[in-house]
Amino acid sequence: MTTLKQKWAAASSSTSLKATSHAAADTASYRKAKNRLPGLAVPKSTTPTTKPPLTFPGQLAQSTVRGYATQKQATAYIHGDKLYDIDKVRHDFPILNRLINGKPLAYLDSAATAQKPAEVIDELTRFYNEYNANVHRGVYKISEEATAAYEEARAKIAQLINAKSPNEIIFVRGTTEAINLVAQSWGRANVGLGDGIILTEMEHHSNIVPWQLLAKERGAHLKYVGLTDDGHLVHEDFRQHLESGGIKLVTLTHVSNVLGTINPVREYIREAHKQGCRVLVDAAQSVPHMPVDVQDMDCDFLAFSGHKMCGPTGIGVLYAKKAILEEMPPYHGGGEMIREVHLYESTWRDPPYRFEAGTTNIAGAIGLGKAIDYLSEIGLRNIQAHDQELTEYMHEMLGKVKGIKIYGPANPRTKAGVISFSLGDVHAHDMASLLDEDGIAVRSGHHCAQPLMDRLGVSSTTRASVYIYNTEDEIDRLVESVERAGRVFKI
């Protein structure tokens, strides 16, 4: 079997990047090629050319480390007329210069939170230094600037997910708050005694607990779509639940944060709409990694977090169709969300402001707008191709480690960016500690998905997840380090 590296090497010898980039402009398929960036001496060995200087934990690496991190050939992808220059991308992320235990940080935990490019960090600083003001209130210059930037961010989000209007975009703290908003506002108004809500066994706690709270309060039922042994939804469960009647809402994740499974949300939405129920899609793990089009998908609600897509923490998005939002009562009461306030009653503003009570995370929203600029510049299709290649590479290479068990789909093409695994009787926390000794950051535990862990019959897994700045080298280091853990534990 030819490895990905061999494929890439073959691609590089048969194509020259410059020559193909033009031709690729009018083809929808990905073209990729290996490209040696000019001026970069790239030794083949896996040891640094210069010994990294002694550093204390937390100290920034010297410039030689960049040589280490990018010592192998750079990878370039072309989609349309855009070039994926991994070296440039890595250069944009200051944190990747850090040494952990004397080794360059290999950050493989982007499913938890993504790193931030300098552009986003700089914009936050610029906001606070140059135009910090409350939005929608002041008539003075900097308040107008802040308001414009805040609303521009909303428009960028609308454009990113192809919403019909920026008014369908509500700023929230993150996916968790977005889902709670729907449960508390739409849910309390629409879900009653004996009604049903369909969920899946692979949901994150944030797409389970808000519905448990609602169901308890309203006397409604939760119905779960089960999983096959290889981590796909049991579609038959879904159909049966739908046909059982009384279903008001279907809520499911687009991509599993544990297994990486990509769910057929479009088909589920079509089926659910035939029965007249609404659908919420938890897009926390999809919007950062692939083009998402809410009109094409036709979801009623979509929730995602800014921090998983290179934006700041504390900012996220609830998208909902305008007609639904207009009927929804407020979630929080306070300033900004009102039309008129009297002593005993008030009237509400139109969406999205009805749902943005109080001073919101202005800097966060502006930072998220910058992050979207950044991701769009690379191109979401490009990002998807990059993440997909790395996921497949990681799946293949980890799969060769003696004693390893990979959870979820056996075909890496049906998973996005995330791989959960275990090795013999090595507990996930011990694995993560051993990887940390080698400067590799992965997640271990139940990943806020205990029902899924129960279904898998484990108490925890180790999870490695990739994003725009990760490289094959880092995957190789991960695999080497997992093998080392196997030796330490004598697997």
């Binding site: 235990n101 011990d430 940390d436 535990g445 925890s460």
Partner: protein, 136 residues
């Protein structure tokens, strides 16, 4: 960098000493580490002079939490309740050896917390003992 995963830790993880249950234990406590799902349960049989006649642990979780629980049972066995009460964090950490990060410290000290919870329930807790437990 020296790994925390010494031969000794791995040995206690794979071949735990004093693992099991004591049906006639007077002292029984259990706790979990919600961060990583480690579970440790401790049972102690005590005679009328407050000597620990027998001790067993049960549980599941990472090597650090399980090995430290097993090591702790050996430390306690044959001692008095008062000796058990006086065991310090440092005592447990020196059994484990190596450098632990803050998160892994919780794993290492879970069994001590469970032991002390049981002991204080038995001899009576005070404000000081509650503070001590919440500091573990």
């Amino acid at each position: 960098m020296s790994s925390i995963y010494s031969e000794i830790i791995l040995d206690y993880y794979r071949y735990p000493r004093n693992k099991g249950t004591l049906p006639h234990a007077q002292i029984h406590a259990r706790d979990t580490n919600p961060l990583c799902g480690d579970v440790v349960e401790m049972q102690l049989e005590v005679d009328e002079k407050n000597n620990v006649k027998d001790v067993k642990f049960n549980g599941q979780g990472c090597a650090i939490s399980q090995a430290s629980a097993s090591m702790l049972t050996e430390l306690v066995k044959g001692k008095t309740i008062d000796d058990a009460r006086k065991i310090s964090k440092e005592d447990v950490l020196s059994l484990i050896g190596g450098q632990l990060t803050a998160v892994r410290l919780k794993c290492a000290l879970l069994s001590l917390k469970v032991l002390k919870t049981g002991v204080y329930n038995y001899i009576g807790s005070t404000d000081a003992s509650k503070d001590e437990l919440s500091g573990l």
